[in-house]
Subunit: 345 residues, 4 copies
């Protein structure tokens, strides 16, 4: 059994990591840290794990004491804080899988622009591999430092990159992202109390969202993203307007997706002519590691709408991280990630 | 124009008072207090009031300075804190309408049992009139001190009292109350964040809820109440199991309700044989001052289910308070309370 | 009292017309038609009207028999069917206010393109006035035939036209519309059952929606619209990406909105720097006749996001129709439309 | 691989059977019937199964032609219709697992009372075993005919029977059941469209629900049940008021549950003093085969509230059926049922 530690394990991303890793047939979770819940049972803040584990949290600063009891370190720690502690983390385990935003952007300037603070460990950035298996599988196989992309970025990249890669896109991309409430985390604040958030269509990022920089980084195309909180707990959907290069028709788009994803277990192309679920819908993806991608060619020649959907806590974070782990270990890629999602849900 | 002040005006009950009083044709809101929002516009925390008012909040401790600028004081202040400040409030205005829980229960012992602290102003309790127009209209007409009942209590009393009054009930009553999230107030906490509260069926009071004491006080019958938070922002529904005295049939129940409420504008008897809305449903009551009450006679002889539903912030609080004001002033009772509720909603 | 009839009164738009007209101080509803509910009480399918009316439905084909008992005819009849019956309707009342889609588009070719069938009464189209008070008040004052715009179109036009009118926009507009479930009407079908529609992010119109033609007609600019059903019963929000003419800055945008809407009772400009409700949010508009409009200037020079929000059944339909009635009758424009909306909701 | 057929596979229970059986490591689904979708792919109405299966539906009346291609028959067919076709089904497979309501009640008179029609195959009733593993494991092991209990019945029986079995209960039981919308099935009707069902607290069975008969049959105690539809897609919760025999205290209750369920994989006792999830909450059970049960001792001596929660489509139906299959085949009981449920959700 591979022994793993999860740092920052009491939040929603941390909890989802625990769910997946505890259910994983070749992994044993030996350490889960949380300052707030130190000494308490893991199944307190994560009641879905009742019966699945007797683990208790340890305080973050006691992680070092546990050195030697884990082989891989998963970081579900906050943005901005993670980069400062990264040297410590790298000293504790040979393999580190980081789910924070701190090592996603290759260019420290871009990081500073989007996170509002200079990057304090720019020299470490190039040592990290982008943890998106569909486009970086080969590097992941040999990398000990993996940085898992953001949830909306993952949906956007998986939806767009087959087209950019095939040279079918031209000009800028407009992304309208919609997200459930779990994306804003477990900490209570006036913005996420139920009476205010319920049934909302809250445009919290009208002009630009930091995940757009990741999409640009991956596709090479300028992206302008809005983000709206809608009623859902889990789920991200990106609706992307694209300009097609001349001569690109529906068949060309479909071919590009097929070529990119025919052998991918966790990306499904959903682009049907009719039906309630003819385009990607996050509602049926909760708990699953799928990212569904699809498209619809516009009435106006040369335009299309491209859609991506996923569970922000799974393929948009923890599930993706576990998929990277499987790849790095040389295990079957879907180990521990077989859940298909529910319908109705 | 009657000048009124609202103390504790930044919460949900306070905001609803402002909405109703600002829209009231014979009332002018001159003061709205809030410590948290002192100096800020009222339409900040209450964005539905944009365009309706330019009022700003003043700090609570500056209420005294405003003396003379209001005739009636509405208190949307916290339980336990209100009783301590009541002497001050009573010195500031001739009429006080209290929406806290502190002066609802006539017996200080019962208060202590349910609120977990001794009552600090028991001598004031008898000076307050119960602000439930349908059963205390005559006293309200002449009272300068009114205590508005709790939201679930109002639903329960309005549903049950016609039967207890007519002597149709025997034995104890079991009340299962269901409530939306606005009842837990505007303060953020781990219990009311969206991701935890959304879609919940949270039995937060499995054995006893303080509002049951108010129902017992009004009906004279022992009540045991459970309370469950379900998915809704506004809305309370009580489902009450009752034992009927011998010979009481459906006709007798219907007659009791008709006699109690035939002339009541804000209580509708909803007890049909079929239809989606054959029993009281809070979903269509949001924003309205209605309490719908209904019943269904059981298969087992001598039993019935009695149901009450209302908007916890309106008939369960602020609307009821405004109705009391109208009565006290000798105005038409529905002034400012004409909104019928929405369907669908 | 002005006597009015509502044709097609058992649907959601019809029910909302009844709610507003029954509550209107100068109107009496004398006829409400419905084939499905002929002979049944109006408060059956519209349970929120219990206690407000004793009206019963008459069958559609008995409308002619009621001639003389109404002065104004409101049509909440289906698209495509309405144009065929329009000559009959026009013979029955001097004033007709049509809420169907059949007389919104001035160009029959455009109608045919978007509704998939030729227009059968093209000669009548120019006799109708667009029922959008903020931009057609003068014509409405003198018009006996009014065609109320579509819900998303209303939100889009009110949000965009101040800018197009002021010459601040250039190029095409991308509109992403989000809508609640009431927009798809009261008829049950596999697409709107709760288990499928709940929590959805359903892109039902990925490339083009018929309401976009109305926005183009009003603003003179090419529009490409997507539409997504999200979790809500009422509510439409449009998020529009626009290109600004050179030199147009935030101040210029704000000025354009102020000039257009400073005196408008039912349009509020909501464009704040912070706060949960800093941009238009339909959640707090349910039941109200407001359309909130706002904007946010982009990071990229020359771009902005423009937002409109409303209750699709009120300002997006029935409320707008009543506002037109008030204007046509020379009454205060907000008569019967004073409800401010609820928060929280 | 065991070959199974699912009859009535296009509904929600049928879809959930397919999800679980397709994911089951020792089962192959060879036939799925549906009249409505005959010839269409299974992943049309069940879009969560995309990528998991290429199966297509066959018409119900072609099941006989497929004889020999399946070893076990799962019936997700309608109540009342199933009993008529049962002889046919029994002729087609050695093992039949029935999820309809037709063979749950041992007494045909009770069936007739609750289903409103005489039982047409009463002689077959005693040949069926109740498919509730926790209380009938031994019989299930050897039975070829299994009848899976109703969803609310399962929650009620699992919550109550440890206490009735231990002789801790006296008198009648009042059950207040709450349910999500998937329980009313996939067929569209006016009662389950989103705009009507969303946010509802619809008491659709105020006095009696047919599942109460199953609870009485299992516990031997009189039960009176109300049922309310609340906002959720999946999920059933029963809140049961019980009378305790003299001397029964909290310890006795806890002991009874422990004795009943200490070794049960799919029943968790959730009865904590604090926490949002201190009592069973269906929200975190979606997709899982757990039934959480708990209790809270009342203020009034001799009373307690007992709670059960489950996913109506899994432990309340299809998951339970698969668990029975595993037992009957002598396989590990949790095969194919390992999913823990999600939090948040």
């Amino acid at each position: 059994m591979l022994r793993v530690a999860v740092v920052g394990a009491s939040g929603y991303i941390g909890g989802e990591l625990l769910r997946l890793l505890i259910g994983h047939p070749r992994v044993e979770v030996t350490v889960a840290t949380s300052n707030r819940f130190a000494g308490k049972r893991v199944d307190g803040p994560h009641p879905n794990l009742r019966g699945a584990t007797d683990l208790t949290f340890v305080a973050n600063d006691r992680l070092a004491e546990a050195e030697g009891s884990f082989d891989v370190l998963f970081l579900a720690t906050p943005h901005k804080e993670t980069m400062g502690r990264m040297p410590e983390f790298l000293g504790l385990a040979e393999q580190v899988i980081d789910l924070s935003g701190d090592f996603r952007l290759r260019d420290p300037q871009v990081y500073e622009h989007h996170y509002g603070t200079p990057h304090t460990a720019p020299e470490l950035i190039p040592t990290f591999t982008t943890g998106l298996p569909e486009w970086h599988r080969k590097e992941i196989r040999e990398s000990d430092r993996i940085s898992v992309p953001g949830c909306m970025a993952t949906a956007g990249i998986l939806a767009l990159r087959p087209l950019s890669e095939a040279g079918l896109l031209t000009g800028g991309i407009q992304v309208d992202a919609r997200t459930g409430s779990s994306g804003s985390g477990i900490s209570a604040g006036s913005s996420n109390i139920h009476a205010e958030r319920s049934g909302a269509m809250r445009i919290f990022a009208p002009n630009s969202h930091r995940h757009q920089a990741e999409i640009t980084q991956s596709t090479g195309l300028p992206v302008s993203m809005t983000a709206t909180g809608v009623e859902a707990v889990r789920g991200v959907q990106v609706l992307c307007r694209v300009q097609l290069t001349e001569g690109t028709d529906e068949r060309a788009l479909r071919r590009a997706y097929r070529e990119a994803y025919a052998d991918e277990r966790f990306v499904r192309v959903v682009a049907q002519k009719r039906g309630l679920y003819r385009l990607p819908e996050p509602k049926i993806l909760s708990g699953s590691n799928f990212c569904d991608v699809g498209f619809s060619v516009g009435d106006e020649p040369g335009t299309a709408v491209v859609v991506g959907a996923l569970d922000n806590l799974v393929k948009g974070g923890s599930g993706n991280a576990v998929q990277c782990l499987n790849i790095r270990q040389g295990w079957p890629e879907s180990l521990g990630l077989e859940f298909t999602g529910l319908h109705p849900n």
